[in-house]
């Protein structure tokens, strides 16, 4: 009996989904997810140096090691040079394409942590 109800419910659900599909406005975005329980707030601590550094790799190479591309390889860059470059980008003192925008996402403390990571990588 319970199984029977479940089957009916499933058929109903499938039918309802079918109807929704048929009446969905043309080219409409999918419905937004239903409001659920409140989400846990993000952690307050800064991310680790390695976790931040790996977000640079899409342009600057895995571990900052880069072959044959126009970007600055970051592997082995002295800490002071990295920190100065990032702060200058962030403060608009150094002309850039998108590095000002990226640098704006990081605090002094976070820039320091990234600099420690890259300074420790041996360039190839």
């Amino acid at each position: 009996m319970r199984l029977h109800h479940l089957t009916l419910a499933l058929i109903g659900l499938v039918f309802a989904i079918g109807l929704l599909g048929a009446h969905a406005p043309v080219f409409a975005a999918p419905a937004s997810p239903a409001a659920a329980a409140p989400l846990p707030p993000g952690p307050k601590a800064p991310p680790s140096g390695p976790a931040m550094a790996q977000t640079c790799a899409g342009c600057h190479g895995t571990d900052g090691r880069l072959h044959a591309a126009a970007f600055m390889p970051l592997a082995g860059m002295p800490k002071a040079q990295f920190v100065q470059a990032m702060r200058d980008f962030r403060d608009g003192k150094r002309p850039a394409t998108l590095m000002r925008h990226v640098a704006e996402g990081f605090s002094n403390e976070e820039i320091d942590a990234m600099s420690v990571y890259f300074a420790a990588v041996k360039p190839e």
Binding site: A24, V26, F27, A28, A29, P30, A31, S32, P33, A34, P38, L39, P40, P41, G42, P43, A45, P46, P47, S48, P50, A51, M52, Q54, T55, C56, A57, G58, C59, H60, G61, T62, L66, H67, A68, A69, A70, F71, P95, A96, T97, L98, R100, H101, V102, E104, G105, F106
Partner: protein, 445 residues
């Protein structure tokens, strides 16, 4: 990397097998990570898992033995790249990093026994599963359109492949003075600046090869990512006249109109919303009227890749809900969903998003297996796009989990500054090409 492995081995020895009851079995010392999908998300995850811990058994299930990269694939249309340029091989991941590949379609997930079964009947057991299936195009979202039509007459070309090549042939052989209509997709979709870049690149190509041709974007939206910077570029390159509401925003001096512009963007408010395709007459019917075309490119609505549905990982939105801090599915434990299929709030559905999500999940998994806290997550997105082949644009974002528990941007401006110098604009185009190369290396080499 080496010290990390030693640490893992040392901790395993110190703690004994009891600390890893699910992971350590007789004769099997390392965890099995199965990855479904060998695109940007899946391939990045495979590489970064092996970099963090070479002893992990990492297996990628992927249908196609050669990857056709979607990023930069519109450059096949304007002959800036060849189709072969899009092909990326998995040889380095296999040989240098020791990633195993199963070239087959993943079919079913058993989240209780933790196995994935392929179409070919192979059963893969996992300790952690990463699902990165990209997007599925909802061809049926536009009446009159279908997948068979997309493959033969009206290509979408939004998942790079045979449809991209078909669209290239159609555009390059379009009749003299013909009209190319691009139906832009509704939000959310993969590669937010992409449809507009495609239209602009073809406008530039036609100016040289088919100077009386027209390009029309029929849009179900009133704005798009990079919009004011793209519209300014179109003005400078093609004499495009931006809609009134953008003129105040752009601030920079606009070139006056001298002749009708070859490029037209019909916003939703101007009747651009695509409503029906009539393939017999090659006409796109929009809210504002019928547009007769010579070549039509439909970029339809999108949802999570089919595998996400087959695995029961999607919700009513058609995408996959995840715990923000780990990208673990809120539906199935030990299953992480990354890339276009995941619900990642402010993060765009871009290759760069998938790439930084993959690296973060690789860290969550390796730190989790070693009993370490992975710490605070951070992600980035940068997308370069072109208004013309020497006119670069971009969007750049840094993301963290905000107070409300959602992923949000933490930097200020996103786009190329409107007062950017010609040198910055040219350099952005140089960087767009360099990015394709560097990004491909970070994922596959």
């Amino acid at each position: 990397m080496n010290s990390r492995r030693q640490f893992l081995l040392a901790s395993a020895a110190a703690l004994g097998t009891a600390a890893f009851p699910a992971l350590v079995r007789a004769g099997q010392a390392s965890a099995r990570i199965v990855i479904v999908g060998g695109g940007v998300g899946g391939a990045t995850a495979a590489k970064y898992l092996k970099l963090a811990d070479p002893s992990l058994q990492v297996t990628v299930i992927e249908k196609n033995p050669v990857y056709i990269r979607p990023y930069g694939s519109s450059e096949v249309l304007n002959q800036h790249a060849s189709f072969q340029d899009l092909e990326v091989r998995y040889d380095v991941l296999r040989q240098k990093y020791g990633v195993a590949f199963v070239f087959d379609a993943a079919k079913t997930l058993d989240p209780v026994n933790k196995t994935v079964t392929t179409a070919g009947g192979k059963v893969l057991a996992y300790d952690r599963l990463i699902v990165s299936p990209g997007i599925k195009l909802r061809y049926d979202s536009l009446p009159g359109y279908s997948e068979p039509l997309a493959e033969t007459q009206v290509p979408s070309g939004w998942i790079a492949g045979a449809q991209t090549a078909l669209l290239a042939r159609q555009l390059q052989s379009m009749r003299d003075g013909g009209t190319f209509v691009l139906a832009a997709p509704p939000n959310p979709y993969r590669c937010p600046p992409g449809p507009y870049e495609r239209a602009a690149l073809m406008t530039e190509w036609f100016a040289k090869h088919n100077p009386r041709a027209k390009v029309i974007i029929a849009d179900p939206k009133d704005s798009f990512v990079t919009d004011e910077t793209a519209l300014l570029g179109w003005n400078r390159l093609y004499g495009y006249q931006p809609p009134q509401e953008y003129r105040a925003k752009i601030k920079a001096e606009l070139m006056p109109s001298t002749k009708p512009c070859a490029l037209e963007w019909i916003q939703a408010r101007a009747g651009g919303t695509p409503q029906r395709l009539d393939v017999k007459t090659l006409t796109l019917h929009t809210a504002g009227g019928a547009i007769k075309a010579d070549v039509i490119n439909i970029i339809p609505a999108m949802v999570a890749g089919q595998i996400a549905f087959d695995f029961g990982l999607t919700d009513a939105s058609g995408f996959c809900p995840v715990h923000r801090a780990t990208f673990e599915s809120t539906i199935h434990k030990d299953v992480h969903v990354i890339g276009d299929s995941s619900i990642a709030d402010a993060m765009p559905k871009s290759g760069f998003s998938a790439n930084t999500q993959a690296k973060w999940v690789a860290r969550v998994i390796t730190d989790g297996l070693a009993g370490r806290d992975p710490g605070t997550p951070v992600w980035e997105n940068t997308c370069y796009a072109l208004a013309g082949k020497d006119y670069g644009l971009f969007v750049a974002d840094v993301f963290k989990i905000k107070e409300d528990g959602r992923i949000g941007r933490v930097n200020k401006a996103r786009y190329l500054p409107l007062d950017a110098s010609p040198a910055q604009i040219r350099l952005s185009a140089v960087y767009q090409q360099a990015w394709i190369q560097a990004f491909t290396q970070d994922i596959f080499a």
